[in-house]
């Protein structure tokens, strides 16, 4: 009787102490973040660079660029996904022509800086033909999409290769033709494998999208520069821009982590 009665309070005590430890750890975590942030803000304020009135006036303008940033990233990641899919099929092709073209694309893009690519698309290509004169936002999306497409090509390639060989053999043995096997058997399984990686790339892209400010896309950094320079308030402007990017990545990381956990749980 005594032995049977014993475990219950013991387990409860373990559970209670664990919970307390977890809460304490969370509290410490929050306190450290607040302390570091407060330290930075105080140090900054002490340099006499903070004009609260200016911030109140201009912060909404800079923040308004967040919509543009997200719009550009969504369009670019969509373009990148399409390019990556085609690129991966080319990289995995046993035929020389598609393999060579896809490899050229990946090598060229990965071997040159994103900023240079954006300049070439926006400033150099229009010199070759007036047809290639693009609105800034289109140029930005093409630049980012083209660049990320090459990196994601390798992600997709790895994802497709991660689908077990036996899956393809089983489909072949059922008489399914190659394109059908790719579309119905390989691709759905590969997508599940690469979705977390696409989420990661989307978050990096939020930050890299700042580069398209250089061609005049009115996103967060462009607005910070426009607001800061003429009024000599660049410090506040850039710090606000940094905070906007940071908050955006925190928000999307949250969703990304949830997605990743759901994917890891595997098939229903």
């Amino acid at each position: 009787m005594l032995e049977a009665a014993q475990p219950r309070p013991l387990l409860e005590r373990i559970e209670r102490s664990r919970r307390a430890a977890r809460q304490w750890s969370r509290l410490q975590f929050a306190a450290i973040w607040v302390a570091i942030l407060a330290g930075i803000i105080l140090a900054f304020a002490a340099t006499d660079n903070v004009d609260v009135e200016w911030i109140r006036t201009w912060a909404p303008f800079i923040l308004g660029g967040a919509g543009f940033t997200i719009l550009i990233c969504v369009l670019s990641i969509a373009l990148a996904t399409v390019l990556a899919l085609v690129g991966a099929v080319g990289r995995l092709s046993t035929k020389t022509v598609p393999f060579a073209i896809a490899s050229f694309y990946v090598s060229l893009v990965r071997g040159t800086p994103l900023l240079v690519q954006i300049y070439i698309i926006f400033f150099v290509l229009p010199q070759m033909s007036p047809v290639l004169i693009l609105p800034a936002i289109v140029g930005g999306v093409i630049g980012l999409g083209f660049n990320y497409g090459a990196y994601m090509t390798e992600i997709f390639r790895a994802g497709i290769q991660a689908v077990p060989r036996g899956q393809i053999e089983a489909a072949e043995a059922l008489g399914m033709p190659g394109p059908l096997i790719f579309r119905r058997i390989v691709l759905p399984q590969a997508v599940r494998i690469v979705i977390p990686a696409i989420g990661n790339d989307f978050i990096s892209m939020i930050k890299d999208s700042a580069l398209v400010s250089t061609i005049g896309v009115q996103e967060v950094l462009w607005r910070a520069q426009k607001a800061g320079r003429p009024t000599l308030h660049t410090p506040e402007a850039f710090i606000i821009a940094a905070l906007v990017y940071w908050v955006l990545t925190i928000i999307f990381s949250f969703f990304q982590e949830r997605l990743e956990r759901r994917m890891a749980r595997g098939d229903r």
């Binding site: 036996g166 053999e169 089983a170 489909a171 043995a173 059922l174 399984q189 229903r268």
Partner: protein, 270 residues
């Protein structure tokens, strides 16, 4: 060295015409000569079991029959569709299509089942019939349910493969193959990846199929099963057929020394 019925052995009455004919199958993996020229005839409604030590080439032979491995030399004919090995030239569209036609005649079961994990059991079963055979959704579902019932898993119809035991997965895989109404079923060590207590349920389904007159070619290490269900047992070693005949001949009084040695090693524990 023939793999057909040895002379003087009466061919069982229920057996029909030749449905699978492989001629002079050779296979190299690099410089490794895995199959050294195998002829194989399989008759309608016949259950043929391939036995032999690992590395003897029996699995490779099976995979050559539906060109999951392209033979280096030889030809395969299944239900009137004939394909020659041609490893030198890039596959033409016509060659590709002939191979696909052969595969449509021959259902294949794998050691590790290879169910499609992103599809439910029912979707696994109707995918190829609807998209390859062009059968209507309703008709495919009806066929699928019939075969699911046959393997005793109708209640798992909407389950995903991850929720099934190994034995259940293999039974679903058998139902999936049957849904294509193949002329012959080929099993590549279908119980080797199973926990011992799950082997029986799969063998029971296979034995039932054999007794119903399903044409089947089975690579197996289950000697007891071969004895029960086989019409003909083929013993392979070193890429060649050593001996072939009815199970009571090959398994109980083999004529060739190497067969005897193999069986002694295998049957001793029982």
């Amino acid at each position: 060295m023939t793999s057909g019925y040895p002379e003087g052995v009466p061919i069982p009455e229920h057996i029909g015409d030749v449905i699978v004919r492989a001629k002079g199958i050779e296979k190299y993996f690099g410089k490794h000569h895995v199959l050294k020229g195998v002829d194989l005839d399989v008759y309608q409604r016949e259950a043929v079991m391939l036995i032999g030590p690992s590395g003897s080439g029996k699995t490779t032979l099976l995979r050559c029959l539906n060109f999951l491995e392209e033979p280096t030399v030889g030809s395969v004919e299944i239900a009137g569709v004939q394909v020659e090995a041609d490893p030198i030239h890039a596959r033409t569209r016509r060659h590709e299509e002939q191979i696909r036609q052969i595969r449509l005649q021959a259902g294949m079961l794998f050691q590790d089942f290879n169910l499609f994990p992103h599809m439910s059991v029912l979707q696994n079963l109707i995918e190829a019939p609807t998209r390859v055979r062009g059968i209507s959704h309703a008709a495919a579902v009806e066929t699928a349910e019939r075969y699911l019932g046959k393997v005793g898993l109708i209640e798992k119809r909407d389950e995903y493969p991850a929720r099934l035991s190994g034995g259940q997965k293999q039974r679903v895989a058998i139902a999936r193959a049957l849904c294509m109404e193949p002329k012959v079923l080929m099993f590549d060590e279908p119980t080797s990846a199973l926990d011992p207590e799950l082997v029986g349920e799969v063998l029971a389904v296979m034995e039932e199929l054999a007794h119903e007159g399903t044409t089947m070619i089975v690579v197996t290490h289950e000697m007891h099963f071969a004895q029960q269900a086989a019409d003909r047992v083929i013993f392979m070693e070193d890429g060649l057929v050593v001996e072939a005949g009815p199970p009571e001949e090959i398994l109980e009084k083999p004529r060739v020394d190497r067969t005897r040695r193999f069986l002694r090693r295998f049957l001793k524990p029982e």
